[in-house]
């Protein structure tokens, strides 16, 4: 059976169709659901195994990117989300979805509440769309299971992606091994240099997981690298295997109980 995936959208969500497609390719049964349908009770999170919050500009990214949606989720769906996570549901936030997850508190430590880490305006002060290299880090994350050490290329497309936390929080994130992806240079080494690290993220952090490994957020777009022609230089690569698929496949496998 294909596990049901809720791809949550709202005003300004715009990576929903391709995120749903990536889950479909991986064997999931995605459904696009507007947050209004959850607020009205027409849709329930507990009917799903995976919650994906896709990229975009939810509510125009007004005030802070993802902030208005984070306020909406924590104001109206706090118990539903907490229950979903407690029941073993998986949560994936990509780009704007990652921004939402840190602003609900779900990342980095898995609890709705105070904002412990944030995504600031890029060091360049610009929205940028470019391909970057990422290394999969050792972490409890189930989305990256089996891929530790792999270097993959994804596209970033954001203006507010600089991962930032106070020193103590950062140390805790590192000590507990919650970093899922780091920006690396052509040699595969962690980098703070533009454009390899496109936004100036501390410790080159591109994505993190919560301690349970079941909630992950990242700024780059794995859903833009699930078809052979997604890579900008696919014509130069022989038998290219799309590098974003494993994230969705891991999630679907676990949701099916195969993980």
């Amino acid at each position: 059976m294909r596990p049901p995936v809720i791809v949550m959208r709202t005003d300004g969500t715009n990576c929903d169709a391709e995120t749903a497609y990536a889950f479909e390719l991986a064997g999931g049964a995605p459904r696009l659901v507007h947050v209004n349908q959850l607020r009205s009770g027409r849709e329930k999170l507990n009917r799903y195994k995976i919650l994906a919050i896709p990229g975009g500009f939810s509510y125009g990214d007004d005030v802070h990117s993802g902030k208005i949606l984070a306020v909406e989720l924590t104001s109206f769906l706090r118990e539903e989300i907490t229950g979903f996570v407690a029941a073993g549901g998986l949560v994936l936030g990509i780009c704007n979805g990652f921004q939402v997850l840190v602003r609900t508190g779900l990342l980095p430590f898995g609890e709705i509440g105070p904002v412990r880490a944030t995504l600031m305006v890029n060091d360049s002060a610009r929205f940028e769309c470019r391909w970057v290299r990422l290394r999969v880090e050792p972490s409890p994350c189930i989305f990256t299971r089996g891929a530790t050490g792999r270097v993959v290329e994804f596209q970033v497309a954001h203006g507010e992606g600089r991962f930032f936390a106070e020193r103590a929080t950062l140390e805790e994130i590192e000590a507990r091994g919650l970093v899922a992806f780091r920006y690396v240079d052509a040699g595969g080494n962690t980098t703070q240099e533009y454009p390899g690290n496109p936004n100036g993220s501390l410790n080159a952090i591109a994505g993190i997981t919560d301690p349970s490994g079941r909630i992950m957020g990242l700024m780059p777009h794995p859903e833009r690298n699930v078809l052979p022609h997604h890579h900008p230089n696919w014509r130069r690569l022989k038998d290219y295997l799309p590098a974003g698929r494993f994230i969705f496949e891991n999630a679907v496998a676990l949701a099916k109980g195969e993980g």
Binding site: C15, G60, V121, D123, C129, E166, R224, P232, N233
Partner: protein, 944 residues
């Protein structure tokens, strides 16, 4: 009392936005006295107490991890200079709605209004004069923004409701009619007399709403009087421009390709599996010249709505942007009074396109920027949009009598009435009364949710017909939809942004992000439910009737009662005459260059050649997951490609290609050959990536000086070029637009833009695996030049321009031979014999080779033929010529067949370009040096 919350970064953190501004102050203004800039966000709330403001500050506005806040007091107190910049009252700040929503979500009650603005704190010894320069040149566009000098008393907008007045046209003499027209209608005397005669016959005088709706419907913008006029050139009558283009399209008989041409908001062609694709290209020149950010953003928004309003509603899948400006380094004193500097225009137009497209989630992945000093008063901003729609929903819908007129999306305000010509003096921030039309800044999220709702309603078959509320507002949208039936609307039902609009203003308002749908009465409840579910406001304004009349009420008062026949067919066809005079041009004599490497760098750093990558990088070109050939590629991602290839249906092998071509300076020499060049370039760009030259559709955009006298004659030749090209290539034009106001008349000078003909080409290909990029792929590959060109045709080239010459003999595209060239290149690519392909355009063969080498990361060794003049050989810009990198074993003669071709040389591992002629080496130049020259101009403008 208003509550004020100020939020800023913690003092220890660097302020990236402040640094960006500092960089612009230093590079664009040359002001060095500023040492640091910090930014503070200011939020204002009306109707809540300080405790509620504190809750908002902590839960919504600031994050303690990296920010601090103050309530009702300053945050930065030690700055040397500090100013606050806000939108003017009446300019809708898109953030206000989000603030209201989030406050409600947080359970805060009583909030009446919210607003946000930005404070800039300057540290350093800058003078008051320098602050003024920074403010005027970089921070405040007075059309939409203002400096806040004291805390406003209220955020609430209000005003006296306007009334409908009767205009006594029946008794006016010619002078009075002319005065009335000049004041607000912009019609000529003959047209004013027609209106007078109509109402004399009716035995009553018109309302202001009626004359406004007539003026709008009969405006050049809406009816394209010039393109429909009879044209007399040198005493000989020719068919109207539009007729020529349509007859060409009809003559090429591509019924199997074209689904709808010229009749809908965009042109539609067949795609695959029951899908269709559509395209529309628009200009937004005047608004962008006044307020470049808002003008470009709402230009994008408008052309997206054209796609959304095609058939029963299409999904927007791509956006293109093509700009013409004066050079960014133009001395400020040469910019006419009242016009904005091109450095500012370029950056702000790019920002507008970026923010609207990115927020809507539309990939922007094809475009170009052209520079010429004569765009310094009137820039050209061209925005294109493409869509995907089920073929069986792609025909333009027809409302049926009884269908409801439903407006949905944003609210109606005093936006854009009579264009953006409002007087800022009439607007006071003290009274907060909106009494002038405001230019809009665009609200992409409003349009995004409207698009989401629209597609849901379309898929349920709820929409009979739909159109965009753009120029002319309800008057134009409802008037056009109901042209064959009749329509009756109630203006007082339209949701308004603020009170105080007169009925005619509601009717004519050009507020963005609104659309009108014809919905059968039984489907209205479901349509409304879908809109509510997407947070979209929808209102039934009235209904389509069978009266053949346009009727509008405000309350019980009937403010419009016009026959559709008179509205749409009452305007007589114009007759326009012109004669063509030979331009006084000459061919320059240019000696052969002494320093070839330096010359190559100057060509590559010419504004019309240099890399535009810093612009492309701020557009999200990967959203929707459809990109199969990016605007820049190659190993370092810095090699430009000729066109974009998308796979709009995820997982399917078939693709859509989008390309365009223009070269305004050529039209200064000869608009016929310049026109052919633009069309050939558009198709060549598509063919260079692998498109089938028989599977494309074309879109024309004419942006011309006011078409009087000679300029009309040039326009006539450009239209002939389009029609000839269409027939020769058997490619249909399926959409087009003209904007004929590219003449600036100042007090002591007249500036005509170089005439712009932009041709866009889009089409289908069955398998994206048959496409190629421009970056060189292998070492030792042979490089082949394919195409017809006469090397001495150097007029209008970058090479001539670098020597200060325009020249005379421009490339004359051979229409008899061009189809075979395109087909030959297409077949070669399809056969797999081509590893990389790039078309030759501005900057010539040298530029094409350099760009291919940048992407590949290695060089080439090129042998110039004996007898060629080497500078002409390298810098000729004839469109329709290609450089092919051949796969090992490919046979050049067999690939090229009867088409002219020349083996240029081969790729080499060293990162350099080497040129020789005969046995003599000519010069060698490193890729690093060329790349630096190529990238430098836009890096400087955009600080990348």
């Amino acid at each position: 009392m208003l509550q004020e919350v100020r939020v800023g970064l913690l003092p220890a953190l660097r302020d990236a936005r402040g640094e960006e501004l500092l960089n612009e102050i230093r590079t664009a203004l040359g002001i060095q006295s500023v040492k640091t800039v910090r930014t503070v966000k200011v939020y204002r709330f009306e109707g809540i107490d300080e405790q509620a403001a504190r809750l908002l500050a902590e839960r919504l506005l600031s994050e303690a991890v990296f920010q601090e806040y103050r309530i009702n007091e300053p945050l930065i107190t030690n700055a040397d200079r500090l100013i606050e910049v806000a939108y003017r009252p009446g300019v809708m700040n898109p953030e206000a709605g989000s603030l209201m929503k989030a406050a409600a979500d947080l359970g805060i009650e009583g909030l009446l209004a919210a607003d946000s603005s930005t404070e800039y704190a300057f540290f350093g010894s800058l003078s008051r004069h320098e602050l003024e320069t920074i403010t005027r040149r970089l921070l405040v566009n007075e059309t939409v923004q203002q400096v806040v000098t004291e805390k406003p008393a209220t955020l609430l907008l209000g005003g006296e409701p306007g009334r409908t007045s009767v205009i006594p046209v029946r008794t006016m003499n010619d002078a009075e009619l002319t005065a009335l027209s000049e004041d607000r209608l912009f019609l000529n005397l003959e047209e004013m007399r027609l209106i007078q005669g109509y109402f004399r016959k009716l035995g009553r005088d018109p309302t202001d709403a009626e004359v406004e709706i007539l003026a709008q419907t009969w405006s050049e913008h809406c009816v394209h009087k010039t393109f429909k006029a009879r044209i007399v050139v040198d005493g000989e009558e020719k068919k109207p421009f539009l007729t020529r283009l349509r007859e060409a399209t009809a003559a090429v008989r591509r019924e199997n390709l074209v689904l709808s041409a010229f009749v809908d908001n965009s042109g539609v062609m067949h795609f695959y599996d029951g899908w269709a694709i559509c395209g529309k290209v628009e200009t937004h020149n005047a608004p962008s010249a006044i307020e470049p950010y808002g003008g470009a953003a709402t230009g994008s928004g408008g052309v997206f709505r054209d796609i959304m309003g095609t058939g029963q509603g299409a999904k927007v899948i791509a956006s293109t942007d093509i700009f013409c400006f004066a050079p960014p380094e133009t001395p400020p004193e040469t910019i006419p009074a009242g016009c904005l500097h091109p450095h500012y225009l370029l950056r702000r137009v790019v920002a507008g396109v970026r923010d609207y497209g990115n927020r809507m989630g539309i990939p922007t992945n094809n475009g170009s920027v052209h520079f010429h000093p004569d765009f310094r008063a009137k820039p050209s901003v061209i925005v294109g949009s493409y869509g995907l729609i089920p073929a069986d929903r792609a025909q333009k819908g027809r409302p049926r009598p009884g269908d409801k007129v439903v407006v949905f999306g944003g609210r109606t305000g005093r936006d854009g009435i009579h264009g953006a010509t409002f007087s800022s003096a009439a607007m006071t921030d003290r009274t907060m009364t909106v009494n002038a039309q405001a230019v809009q800044i665009g609200h992409a999220i409003e349009e995004k949710r409207m698009a989401d709702a629209l597609l849901a309603a379309r898929d349920e078959g709820l929409i009979h017909a739909i159109t965009d509320c753009g120029a002319g507002g309800f008057a134009s949208a409802v008037g056009e939809m109901g042209a064959d039936t009749g329509a009756l609307i109630h203006l007082d039902r339209a949701p308004l942004k603020y009170s105080g609009l007169a009925p005619w203003e509601i009717l004519l308002s050009e507020s963005q992000e609104r659309m009108v749908a014809a919905v059968a009465p039984e489907n209205v409840p479901r349509f409304m439910e879908i809109c509510r579910g997407h947070n979209v406001e929808a209102t039934v304004l009235g209904e389509f009737t069978d009266t053949g009349r346009f009727e509008a009420y405000h309350g019980k008062e009937k403010v419009v009662d016009l026959e559709m026949e008179f509205l749409h067919h009452g305007l007589p066809q114009r007759v326009l005459s012109c004669s063509l005079t030979a331009a006084n041009l000459s061919e320059p004599e240019i000696p052969l260059p002494a320093d070839w490497a330096e010359l190559c760098c100057r060509v590559l750093s010419h504004l019309n050649v240099c890399s535009k990558e810093p612009i492309v990088r701020v557009y999200d070109h990967g959203v929707q997951g459809t990109n199969a050939l990016p605007p820049y590629g190659g190993i370092a991602g810095d090699g430009p490609n000729d066109a974009v290839v998308l796979t709009p249906v995820l997982g399917k092998p078939y693709g859509m290609v989008i390309a365009h071509g223009l070269n305004p300076v050529l039209n200064k020499i000869d608009a016929y050959w310049g026109g052919l060049w633009a069309a050939a370039e558009a198709v060549a760009n598509a063919v260079a990536v692998g498109a089938d030259p028989r599977e494309l559709a074309l879109i024309d955009n004419f942006i011309w000086p006011v078409p009087e006298g000679e300029f009309l004659a040039h326009l006539d030749r450009a239209v002939d070029a389009c029609a000839d090209f269409s027939r020769a290539l058997k490619l249909p034009f399926i959409s087009g637009k003209d904007s004929l106001s590219g003449t600036y008349k100042g007090r002591d000078m007249v500036i005509n833009i170089p005439p712009v003909l932009c041709i866009s080409a889009f089409g289908r290909l069955p398998d994206i695996n048959g496409t190629v990029t421009a970056d060189l792929k292998g070492e030792g590959s042979r490089l082949l030049l394919v195409g017809n060109r006469r090397e001495e045709e150097m007029g209008g080239s970058v090479y001539y321009d670098l020597h200060g010459h325009l020249g005379k003999s421009i490339p004359r595209i051979n229409l008899k031979k061009l189809p075979e060239v395109f087909l030959t290149v297409h077949r070669a690519i399809k056969s797999g014999a081509v590893l990389a392909c790039h078309d030759v355009s501005e900057g010539g063969l040298l530029t094409a080779l350099a760009e291919m080498a940048f992407g590949g990361g290695f060089g080439a060794e090129i042998e110039l033929p004996k007898g060629s003049r080497p500078d002409f050989f390298l810098f000729n810009e004839t469109a329709g010529c290609f450089v092919l990198e051949l796969a090992p074993g490919a046979d050049p003669a067999a690939l090229a067949g009867g088409v002219p071709h020349l083996l240029l040389g081969k790729t080499v591992p060293e990162p350099e370009l080497r040129f020789g002629q005969g046995t003599r080496p000519l010069f060698t130049v490193s890729l690093a040096r060329l790349r630096a020259a190529y990238q430098q101009p836009m890096k400087e403008v955009f600080g990348a």
